[in-house]
């Protein structure tokens, strides 16, 4: 199946752009970003705090398969319903510096919409490290599987 999400990450730049079109009215797409119960469902995170307004702050928490908790937080700088959210994003207790996110919500038709997300990192190096995360997590999963196999043999 072809990916609907497009990633634009030019070499040596410290930002990237994620674009995606949804078969959803823009209002519903926007709700998925502001209602805690919905965020918890699709992001798989617990919403500890979410103030949907300028200068509001947010804090999410995820629990990994080992039971470790990871917190993310940030501040909302711009909040225009069904149009735009500008916010910071920080992974607590990680070497990654805070990043800046520009989310633009666009109505295409009554039933379709588009999300454009620009993420700006502290440096091109940090951007590349973030890009590599899903891959290294995949490797970790493979690694865990090896461990399981080894345990079975012992």
């Amino acid at each position: 199946m072809e990916q609907k999400t497009k990633i634009k990450a030019e070499d040596g730049k410290q930002d990237l752009v994620i674009k995606r079109e949804f078969s959803l009215p823009v209002e519903l797409l926007f709700r998925a970003y502001v209602e805690p119960e919905i965020i918890e469902q699709w992001m798989g995170t617990k919403v500890l705090k979410l103030e949907n307004k300028r200068h509001g702050c947010w804090q999410f928490e995820t629990t990994d398969p080992k039971g470790n908790k990871h917190c993310f937080n940030g501040v909302i700088h711009e909040f225009y319903p069904n149009q735009k959210i500008t916010r910071t994003f920080e992974m607590e207790n990680s070497p990654f510096p805070v990043q800046l996110e520009f989310l633009e919500f666009e109505r295409l038709t009554d039933n379709t919409s588009k999300l454009t997300m620009q993420i700006v990192y502290k440096s091109a190096e940090f951007r590349d490290q973030m890009l590599k995360l899903p891959f290294s997590q995949g490797i970790n999963m493979a690694h865990n599987r090896i461990q399981e196999i080894v345990n079975k043999l012992l």
Binding site: K6, R31, M43, I146
Partner: protein, 107 residues
């Protein structure tokens, strides 16, 4: 371009990733690799064939045995991680879309 997509297909499979990790530390024969898996030997052979075809693994004849080892250069090429990153977001957004479509029909 096509070749690179093959590389990503190759590493998308957990068994093949496990094989890569295994031979990363030492060259191994097909038999030694297969011994680490519950799956049938031909299945492991098929995985080795795919990994060799897209050049992630190299074969080396040593006496009567063929040893497999990781092709570091090819692994470097996979350092274009953008595709994996996009896949993660795509799955996340697919979920969002499904959840919100359910909301839509409720209203």
């Amino acid at each position: 371009m096509n070749l690179r997509r093959d590389v990503f297909q190759a590493i998308a499979d957990p068994t093949r990733r496990a094989i890569l990790l295994m031979v990363a530390s030492q060259s191994m024969t097909a038999g030694a690799i297969a011994a680490n898996f519950d799956t049938a030997r031909p299945t492991v052979s098929k995985h080795l064939q795919i990994l060799t075809e897209c050049e992630l693994l190299k074969q080396e004849q040593n006496g009567r045995e063929i040893y497999y080892h990781v092709n570091a250069n090819k692994m470097e090429e996979v350092a274009d991680f953008v595709e994996q990153f996009g896949k993660m977001w795509d799955e996340r957004f697919n979920k969002l879309e499904a959840i919100m479509q359910a909301h839509k029909t409720k209203e």
